[in-house]
Symmetry: C2
Subunit: 224 residues, 2 copies
């Protein structure tokens, strides 16, 4: 008998991180269909034949969140997860992408699926194996900000050294020594001081910086 090939269902899922009030948040949607109807989940959907995984990702973000991949300063493939036996829709393989952004404007109308940023420390119960995927993404993000300039994608265009340190602390989940952080960041030679200062109430005005490169680069050292 000839071998007949049946491919698994292929899906894409998006893990979109943003800093909200100094906490790392992840973007969730509320599922409108079974399985897990009404549950919170990562934005995801089918990858149809003829679509690249990036095209499927773009469709998911447009239809379920109301954003374009171009709205995210950094998007990269994370990992491909086997969900055999875990996905009630059948045998599925899911290509997960990670995106980083800053103040993403979320659509609030009924054409999308209630896109909402949730702090990682206060996630609701999640559909499928999405809690595992988020855990994996966080690990990757922590490694990325240590060895690359990726944190630029979570930062506003201009920021103080303290704000940058707070962003690193939110991602890494631990406090950093202020003097040491400043010294290492300046040594990495990725920041450009502006001529402007940030004045916050009684504090001394703080110099504003930008990233020299607004696209991904490896660091010649590390923040370790």
């Amino acid at each position: 008998m000839a071998y007949v090939y049946h491919s698994p269902i292929l899906t894409v899922d998006a893990v979109i991180f943003e800093l909200v009030d100094g906490e790392l948040n992840v973007l969730l949607i509320r599922r409108t269909n079974e399985p897990f109807q009404g549950a919170w989940a990562l934005p995801g959907g089918y990858n149809a034949a003829g679509d690249t995984t990036r095209q499927a990702l773009a469709r998911v973000l447009t239809t379920k969140v109301g954003v374009e991949p171009g709205d995210l300063p950094l998007v990269e493939q994370l990992y491909t997860f086997d969900t055999i036996g875990r996905d009630p829709r059948g045998d599925a393989v899911s290509v997960a992408y990670m995106g980083l952004c800053q103040q993403l404007e979320l659509q609030a109308d009924d054409s999308v699926q209630t896109p909402t940023f949730y702090p990682l420390g206060k996630l609701p119960e999640l559909a499928y194996d999405h809690a595992d995927i988020i855990k994996y993404a966080l690990e990757r993000l922590r490694s990325k900000v240590t060895y690359t300039n990726s944190i630029f994608a979570l930062m506003p265009g201009r920021f103080t050294m303290t704000q940058l340190q707070q962003a690193y602390e939110a991602v890494l989940g631990r406090p950093l020594d202020k003097r040491n952080f400043r010294k290492k960041m300046l040594a990495l030679d990725v920041l450009q001081p502006t001529e402007d200062y940030y004045q916050d109430g009684a504090h001394r005005p703080a110099l504003l910086y930008t990233f020299k490169k607004q696209d991904f680069q490896s660091l010649t050292g590390s923040l370790d």
Copy 2:
């Protein structure tokens, strides 16, 4: 009209690296079927519904190369490549895995597809986009050996400091300073000296080392 989902073909491909005579080699097979019949290619095949990508990988290695994934000290998922428009079999998505090994015993009979290690510098023309996949894998490998102990998977159980340096040089594709290399490797605290020496002709006997851990770990520093 209801939306009917057609999934793309899902395949797995394996990039298996080994050091042969001080050169980094990659494992290729000679294709026995169309497309690209007779051409050299990475071992790969269909990922059927019900199989995880790891199970599909195991099947490919067993049937086309004659080895078990367990024969490889290190196997990890590399990246998922879209081959839309590039794969004559149709719209395909391929999950690539990278494996590292040392003196893999290759089957030589007709039940497999001529598995052969080729030096990276002397690759034949390759089927599909496999040259791109190998290039991507080499980049990942170079990064991995810099930030982790992964090179253990390419080394014999016991080796001299010079042999280890030669392995790093073969992977990184550039010479390393001998004194500096030795100092950094010892500082990383991943090597265990044995009580034995390697004697090669007229040279001074060289101390043999082993890796403290024969499984993957991140380094607390880097070889950069």
